[in-house]
Symmetry: C2
Subunit: 158 residues, 2 copies
């Protein structure tokens, strides 16, 4: 998995947050090895399947950051990770993956998106189970951390 | 979503657990509405995409039940939800979805599986974000509860 594949997700995340919440997250150092695990209080997860590849994408937020994004979007800060925040995280997951899908489709990498799933629970970890390469990338904001993780593997022709 | 679509997942789960761990989980009452949420300490999640439908499948275990399955499979009970237990949950997710895929393919419902993701974290909730129907089904065992949740929606032809 190279930068050509990963950058569309990073750009889509920054576009979505800048557009929806006028917020900028500072990207950290991407990790190719699985020493670090995506970790957060609320995560959006989506599966992807194309003719040659299959994979998964996740985005995890610390509670305070998720609430801050919600606050910036609707003008009122939620106290906890309520159903509306989970909806928003599902929507962000869809929009980021949809943005990356469009860019990657133009480059000849086609895939279809499954439906998103939102996980809520204090300090959970996300682990993508695949033989393919995994890229994890932290983002920071004064309200808290976010992580995205992208993973793709080639479909065997069996 | 009707029984024809759901039963292959339930049967595949029971086959997998009986084959891998000689265990039988007692199925509870399936719920079509989203009043109840899948909840557990470790969950396996996978996306599915077909020509007409897309969706997601999850299976969530309470910690003690996941450890009990691990113990039955390898003869040694883990103390916590370690990496091996997460591996096993990812594998169960793959096997159950793969079993259901085979049965459903024979009935003319085709889909491809994305790669599984495992979530670990005390008492997290799983929420499938889709316009389609969601079915949640509890399973019980003396060691603890498990939940499977299946969700499919039709792909719009846009």
């Amino acid at each position: 998995m190279n930068a050509e594949f990963v950058n569309p997700f990073l750009q889509a995340l920054q576009n979505v947050l800048s557009m929806m919440a006028q917020m900028e997250l500072k990207p950290g150092k991407p990790q190719l090895k699985q020493d670090e695990m995506a970790r957060g209080d609320v995560s959006g997860i989506i599966g992807m399947v194309g003719p040659q590849v299959k994979g998964s994408f996740s985005i995890s937020f610390e509670e305070k950051l998720a609430c801050e994004i919600m606050s910036k979007m609707v003008g009122e800060e939620p106290d906890t990770l309520d159903d509306e925040v989970c909806d928003m995280v599902g929507e962000i997951t869809n929009m980021v993956t949809g943005g990356a899908k469009k860019t990657l489709g133009e480059k000849g990498y086609e895939f279809q998106m499954a439906t998103p799933i939102v996980v809520s629970g204090k300090d959970h970890t996300i682990s993508h189970r695949s033989d393919g390469k995994k890229l994890i990338m932290p983002f920071s904001h004064q309200a808290g951390q976010a992580y995205i993780e992208i993973c793709f593997e080639e479909i065997s022709s069996s």
